[in-house]
Symmetry: C2
Subunit: 101 residues, 2 copies
């Protein structure tokens, strides 16, 4: 089964990294327990002025399983007011090119 | 040496995918030949309405080597007028969390 990759780009104000990370781990812990979750890498920008300070990249078995993971508990976690500080742009991708040096 | 990850999010209008991919491969071929380049994955969104239709994620040995790859030839490739159709948000990241299911 071809892997799909969920990518979510986050805006995180300087000094708010720990608040963001705590919220992010809540949701990642939940998603990690769902069927089809394969792996995750959370990236932090070296440039503090980057538009997207954090980028989440996660492999799933299928778009259907990724979608199914967005259950009632997920929506409850995401509905926390603290998330409003961290706008994000999530989408699901297929790997079009994969190469190594 | 800790890997750094270059992430670049691209806006690509519907129907312009082939033009984008041709330009992207020109620059990727150039970067792949530079010291420190490790791997690349280019992602295409399953949702045609996603803000970022393509996301480039590439591993490098160091931020310095990634920076050095942006030489005169790179800037000549990027200066092509055709690139103006594809706004992008590039930045260099460190991997803050890496986990597997």
């Amino acid at each position: 089964m071809a892997e799909v990759v969920f990518i979510n780009c986050f805006e995180v104000p300087a000094g708010r990294e720990q608040v963001f990370l705590e919220l992010w781990h809540q949701i990642d812990d939940h998603m990690r327990a769902q069927p089809g979750y394969r792996w995750v890498r959370l990236h932090r920008s070296l440039d503090p002025a980057a538009t997207f300070r954090y980028v989440n990249v996660a492999g799933w078995d299928s778009a259907e399983q990724h979608s199914a993971g967005h259950d009632e508990k997920f929506h409850r976690l995401l509905a926390q007011e603290a998330w409003q500080e961290f706008p994000s742009l999530p989408s699901v991708y297929t790997v079009e090119v994969a190469d190594q040096a």
